[in-house]
């Protein structure tokens, strides 16, 4: 047991927690935005792959890191636009379109990777974002090294979480987005465009998912490899439910999840870990997500019009 306390008392665990949470925060907020507008976006897993690849490839081709993040964002928006076209304009099944987008986005990333680097066996590296301690803030005991000695993309994630929470809760635009996910007919009666609001939310949300993916290649690791997203997108969908469709709670969920993930990696190296197969530890994040869904299932805060296509004049 004492090893566990040593691990929990170590700063490196909490630093790792924030690092692991960062891509999840981007993608979870992106999914949350889509779902608040009434669209389930199952393209998330593939869009994260596409963002990871596009960001990495842009940097590999000589672009700066921030422009590379922009490329990832645009790539995500592109797939988001396709999703919106099919689910919002044509009202197709959000499940099927989402799975289709995931397959399309990940296979085109792998195709493009193989096309660009046919003979490569070990993935080429790039110069990734370096840790940038925030002046003053990083000097705060405990909190400083954990929250403010990270890479710049993590700070962007904080800012984004605050911005999205404010926009959703305090602005007319946020009200319209929430309303379109609850009762699209009322939004239309106000003279606002249901299709426009939903499409905008899906496109912007998909962009954020892709930025989350690009965190993996531009900040956490410094190269792109296959299966690197590895179900993170699906976990973000669980985090949105866990967070009851609220940005603050969803971010808290991402931190909680990341804490367990960071802990299980470290537990593997303890004597306890030596007795158990490593697969048990790797299963924990997925089992934990399922458990979180079960625990939070009683709260009826699902956007009322989630997954319901809106067709003008139909009821």
């Amino acid at each position: 047991m004492s090893e566990i306390f040593t691990i929990i008392a170590s700063v490196s665990l909490w630093v790792a927690m924030v690092r692991i949470a960062s891509p999840l925060i981007f993608a979870t907020l992106g999914e949350l935005l889509c779902e608040r507008a009434g669209v389930l976006n199952l393209g998330i897993e593939g869009i994260m792959v596409a963002g990871a690849f596009a960001g990495w490839f842009a940097a590999y081709s000589g672009m700066g890191l921030w422009p590379a993040v922009g490329v990832a964002f645009l790539t995500g928006m592109g797939f988001g636009a396709l999703h919106a076209l099919l689910t919002v304009l044509f009202g197709l099944s959000q499940h099927v379109v989402g799975i289709g987008i995931t397959l399309l986005a990940s296979s085109s990333s792998y195709f493009a990777y193989r096309l660009a680097l046919p003979e490569v066996t070990s993935p080429p590296k790039i110069e990734a974002f370096a840790t940038w301690p925030v002046p003053v803030l990083s000097q705060i005991p405990l909190i400083g090294p954990v929250l403010f000695s990270q890479t710049p993309l993590t700070y962007l994630a904080y800012g984004l979480a605050i911005a999205l929470a404010l926009v959703l809760a305090r602005t007319p635009l946020g009200l319209a987005i929430r309303a379109v996910g609850e009762n699209p007919t009322s939004v239309e009666a106000q003279g606002l465009s249901v299709a426009g609001l939903r499409s905008g939310a899906v496109i912007a949300g998909s962009g954020l998912m892709a930025v989350g993916g690009s965190f993996l290649t531009l900040s956490a690791f410094n190269s792109f490899f296959f299966e690197m997203v590895n179900g993170r997108g699906w976990i973000c969908i669980a985090l949105v439910v866990f967070g009851a469709w609220k940005p603050g709670k969803a971010v808290a969920g991402a931190f909680l999840f990341a804490a367990f993930d960071a802990l299980q990696i470290r537990l593997q190296q303890t004597p306890l870990g030596a007795h158990l197969p490593y697969q048990i530890f790797l299963m924990l994040p997925y089992l934990l997500s399922i458990l979180a869904l079960i625990v939070t299932s009683r709260r009826a805060s699902v956007p009322a019009a989630l997954m319901q296509p809106f067709r003008k004049g139909e009821r």
């Binding site: 044509f90 099927v96 799975i99 397959l103 439910v241 197969p277 997925y286 869904l293 067709r311």
Partner: protein, 349 residues
């Protein structure tokens, strides 16, 4: 812009969008070949030749289609009842696992008894994998999409753990694979000498059985009724939870048969790469078939041909083999759109 239902679509209207979707997929294939610096016509030719150009190629396509028929059927029955089973991959591995557990010497039975017992065991395991999420959906309202998706990852890790632990073949030279099945546990070949096993026959029988169930039984009608509208089904006196559970058993069992047939018919043992995503590809297969059980057979053959053809083409020309996944994902989206456009038209609002 808005969609307007067409009261009485003309025969042209019913067919044209589907033709356009397929044509667009072929054009995309040509475009991807061009991007890869190859001659589009040559690449398309190589794909066709690699899929059906020889007896060996055609048999390979039939073999590849076998698990896809099972997973395609699994998805079709589930989606028809609006049970969003994205966990066919986990159910497939559950079936494969039980097949190996029963077929490597645990049951000293002759082949005519052993093989059905193995299949039944596989079905039970696959069904259990889906009944769990279905119960969570019914009792607690937990979305089955996420639970079935996440279970895929859990299952693969579980299999990996077993293959590196208790199930590891002592004669396997250290590779994480199970011991081979007994000879009595192997599915025989349909024609001796040809590399095509009875799993394919079983898949065809399953498709026919699901079609009969769907069209000619009350149970099939109830499943479709629940899919068409839960409230209406309830008012019609259908016990919705029972139908959902029944659908889960059927769907999970069908997906598990894919694992059973791959292990007992083709591979003879269990490895972590038994399925290159057959569970997910089953979604494409089922959607291309418009969720029709007999259509699933055709679309599984089509999808298998693209995979086998693209593999073979990729070795000959320099086009990455991921072209197959790209084409299928595109075909899925194009086909879902096309099927809607056979019933709706776009109008300016």
């Amino acid at each position: 812009m808005r969609l307007e239902p067409i009261a009485d679509p003309s025969p042209m209207r019913r067919v044209l969008p589907v033709v356009i979707a397929l044509a667009a997929t072929v054009i995309l294939a040509g475009f991807l070949a061009l991007v890869s610096g190859s001659d589009p016509m040559a690449v398309l030719g190589l794909i066709v030749k690699g899929a059906v150009g020889s007896k060996f190629a055609a048999l390979e396509t039939l073999n590849r289609a076998t698990p896809l028929i099972f997973t395609g059927l699994a998805i079709a029955v589930a989606f028809r009842a609006r049970l969003w089973n994205i966990g066919a991959e986990a159910q497939l591995y559950a079936g494969a696992l039980v097949t190996v557990l029963l077929g490597t010497g645990a049951l000293p039975l002759p082949a005519p008894v052993l093989i059905p017992v193995m299949a039944l065991g596989a079905i039970v395991a696959g069904a259990a994998m889906l009944v769990g999420p279905a119960l969570l959906k019914l009792r607690l309202g937990v979305d089955e999409v996420v639970t079935t998706l996440l279970l895929n990852f859990v299952m693969l890790l579980f299999i990996s753990m077993l293959l590196e632990g208790p199930l590891k073949d002592p004669m396997g030279m250290g590779w994480p694979k199970s011991a081979p099945l007994l000879k009595e546990a192997r599915l025989p070949r349909i024609v001796s000498g040809l590399r095509l096993h009875w799993g394919f026959g079983l898949a065809l029988i399953a498709a026919l059985a699901v079609w009969l169930l769907d069209r000619h039984t009350v149970a099939g009608f109830e499943m479709r009724a629940v899919g068409a509208g839960e409230t209406a089904a309830r008012f019609a006196g259908i016990r919705v939870p029972r139908v959902v559970i029944r659908t889960a058993v059927l769907s999970g069992g069908l997906a598990a048969l894919a694992g059973f047939s791959e292990v007992a018919g083709l591979k003879g043992n269990l490895t972590l790469d038994l399925s290159p995503g057959y569970g997910y590809t089953g979604i494409v297969v089922a959607m291309l078939a418009g969720l029709n059980p007999l259509g699933v057979v055709l679309s599984a053959l089509f999808v298998a041909a693209i995979f086998v053809g693209a593999d073979s083409m990729s070795r000959a020309a320099g086009v990455p083999t991921y072209i197959a996944d790209m084409l299928l994902a595109f075909a899925l989206l194009a086909m879902v759109l096309a099927l809607t456009m056979t019933r709706y038209r776009l109008r300016r609002a």
